[in-house]
């Protein structure tokens, strides 16, 4: 792995990170890059390998192969953990202690001044319930205590795994605002989530993981891509050929029986013109509509286990290109 200094551009870098459990590959040659100061969304469906990856970043589990650098150190080393705050899966605390006492124990372990306890409890709006026993906390309060514990060290890197789980809508909004606020300045936040709008609202960049593989990575705008024209027409292959011939069309791909047309940056395709071209060529147009770009559609396209794309098929992927691949028409039959 490259040697990172404290001021290096990458706070987290994984190289071909792989974790297998027997025959099952939970994380598959993952190359993840999180830059200093950004809020990075780690997006994927349940069971995609997000939490396994985060556990490896924290040294809780060892990779089967591949390399990891966290804040320039190996994962789980005292050097990286001292500057990292984390909440992984459900927050785990001593049930018989109060929220405040739990943080007192952790502050001792992290050698953090006790004065930070009230500060972080206040940040997550839990100060008035600090004396309550943890086992009596609601799920939302437990989540907030988990975030407070992660903030205790005032860390350079904050790793949060599904932090809005169990929160009510108002709590979710507050938590997202807090995460955004925490990501200001030089602090880096790695936010794992399966909620597309959460990542869309909160993050600067995101990586999408499916079946243990990173299928896309880039800024939210990169991942969203442009709006697309969606056409259902017969014969489909003729319609596809016509669409590809139109000037300014960057990509025409077949997704679940419909042709999805994207244009080159700056180019616009008039739906009326497309319709006229198709009809003029004897193609029967059954549907023609504009599809607005959303992370949700990208996410669903990328993480559908039956239609996982080949690497490099999507904009934003490190190996990405804009050519039309043969496999895109493979499901016509």
């Amino acid at each position: 792995m490259p040697d990172h200094t404290n001021h290096g551009p990458h706070v987290i870098e994984t190289r071909d990170l792989t974790r297998r459990y027997g025959e099952i590959t939970a994380v598959d040659t993952l190359n993840l890059t999180v830059r200093r100061g950004e809020v990075y969304g780690f997006l994927g469906p349940n069971g995609a390998g997000k939490t396994t990856t985060l556990r490896m970043l924290l040294g809780l589990i060892r990779p089967t192969s591949g390399g990891i650098a966290v804040l320039g150190s190996s994962p789980g080393s005292a050097g990286s953990l001292a500057r990292t705050g984390a909440m992984i899966e459900t927050p785990a605390f001593y049930p018989h202690l109060s929220g405040g006492d739990n943080l007192r124990v952790l502050a001792r372990y992290a050698a953090v001044d006790a004065s930070r306890i009230d500060l972080v409890l206040d940040q997550v709006r839990l100060l008035d319930r600090a004396g309550d026993v943890f086992r009596e906390y609601s799920l939302g309060m437990k989540q907030r205590l988990g975030v407070a514990a992660a903030l205790l060290k005032d860390p350079e890197l904050l790793i949060l795994d599904e932090p809005t789980n169990g929160l009510d809508p108002a709590g979710m909004t507050e938590m997202r605002a807090l995460i955004r606020e925490l990501g200001q300045g030089n602090r880096t936040v790695l936010l794992s989530s399966h909620l597309m709008h959460e990542v869309e609202q909160t993050c600067d960049r995101a990586g999408i993981i499916a079946a243990g593989r990173l299928v896309a990575e880039g800024t939210i705008d990169d991942l969203l891509g442009e709006d697309a024209l969606v056409v259902r027409a017969e014969p489909t292959l003729d319609a596809m050929a016509i669409a590809r011939d139109i000037a300014g069309v960057r990509r025409a791909s077949l997704v679940r029986g419909a042709i999805r047309i994207k244009t080159l940056p700056g180019a616009e395709l008039d739906p009326a013109y497309l319709n006229a071209r198709l009809v003029g060529a004897g193609v029967a147009v059954r549907e023609l509509r504009l599809e607005r770009a959303s992370l949700e559609s990208v996410f669903l396209d990328l993480t559908n286990p039956n239609e996982l794309p080949a690497r490099g098929d999507w904009p934003g992927h490190p190996d990405g290109n804009d050519t039309i691949h043969d496999e895109e028409v493979a499901d016509v039959a």
């Binding site: 809780l60 785990a92 018989h96 001792r108």
Partner: protein, 285 residues
């Protein structure tokens, strides 16, 4: 380094102190000690008209060390084993290991803090039974109108130290079982089974199966009873104690006291080392 170590130790002692289970075990331990050392023998003495004043000997203050020590290798061991299991095994159940292991000090240092705190927490266990035994024996002496003769303070201190070591070794057994099974229930089950059945049953074969004796010489039970014997425990002085007559009766074989001390210390170190090695090596899933 030292300061952060003391901080961690404070945290671990705080955790042990704030657990109800710690105090329940302490209460059970002292309750059993009083029950088998004083209450039952005294009730038997009072109910049997044929018993002479000599039957009171073991219940008087000057016999405190031997009377109290007999409980350490038997139910004391089981109690310490449970304390050891709970102090580490619960962390698996609550999933708090992941929280601790992401704080920064490193798994080895965290485990060291846990073990040192556990060893410190066992001091009140060793001391309390002597304290309650003293009170009980004085009460009995007063009730029977016998002059109180205090035991030799040096012997009492040696007894407390020997008892503490025995409990520490059993707690280390509990910790290892908790780390192996990643929990509490199975660890306690296996531990109790080992304490009561395995060591006890194999010890009974000493007279009939020749190759068993060298094995039994390294059992925790044999070495624990051998350690306390010179102090009067395990019927070393009175010949009438819980070790031979009460539950968990033990009639040998005994080993040399020095060997017993060395074996117990080695047990404590090896068991702790194995636990630390496993905890450092394994994934926290």
């Amino acid at each position: 380094m030292l300061r952060s170590g003391l901080y961690m130790l404070w945290a671990e002692l705080f955790l042990l102190r704030r657990r109800v289970a710690t105090w329940v075990l302490l209460g059970t331990w002292t309750g059993l000690g009083l029950l088998f050392g004083y209450i039952v023998p005294y009730a038997m003495y009072r109910s049997d008209d044929d018993e002479g004043p000599s039957a009171l000997t073991g219940m008087l203050p000057d016999q405190l060390t031997q009377t109290v020590l007999d409980g350490f290798p038997f139910y004391g061991g089981a109690i310490a084993l449970m304390l050891g299991v709970l102090s580490v095994g619960s962390e698996f159940g609550w999933d708090t290991l992941k929280t601790l292991f992401t704080q920064g000090p490193g798994r080895g240092r965290i485990f060291t803090a846990k073990m040192v705190a556990l060893a410190i927490m066992i001091v009140p266990f060793a001391v309390s039974i002597f304290a309650f035994g003293t009170v009980a024996s004085v009460i009995i002496a007063r009730m029977e109108g016998i002059t109180v003769v205090w035991p030799d303070s040096g012997t009492v201190l040696e007894g407390v130290a020997a008892g503490w070591l025995i409990l520490v070794v059993w707690a280390a057994v509990g910790v290892l079982l908790a780390v192996i099974t990643r929990g509490t229930s199975l660890a306690i089950g296996i531990g109790i089974l080992y304490t009561l059945v395995i060591e006890g049953s194999i010890s009974l074969l000493v007279d009939t199966v020749s190759f068993v004796e060298p094995v039994v010489d390294f059992f925790l039970r044999a070495n624990s009873y051998s350690l306390i014997r010179p102090l009067g425990g395990a019927s070393g002085a009175s010949g009438d104690s819980a070790a031979t007559d009460g539950p968990g009766a033990f009639s040998g074989p005994y080993v040399d006291t020095t060997q017993a001390l060395v074996v117990l210390v080695v047990y404590a170190l090896v068991l702790t080392g194995m636990s630390a090695w496993l905890l450092r090596r394994r994934d926290v899933a």
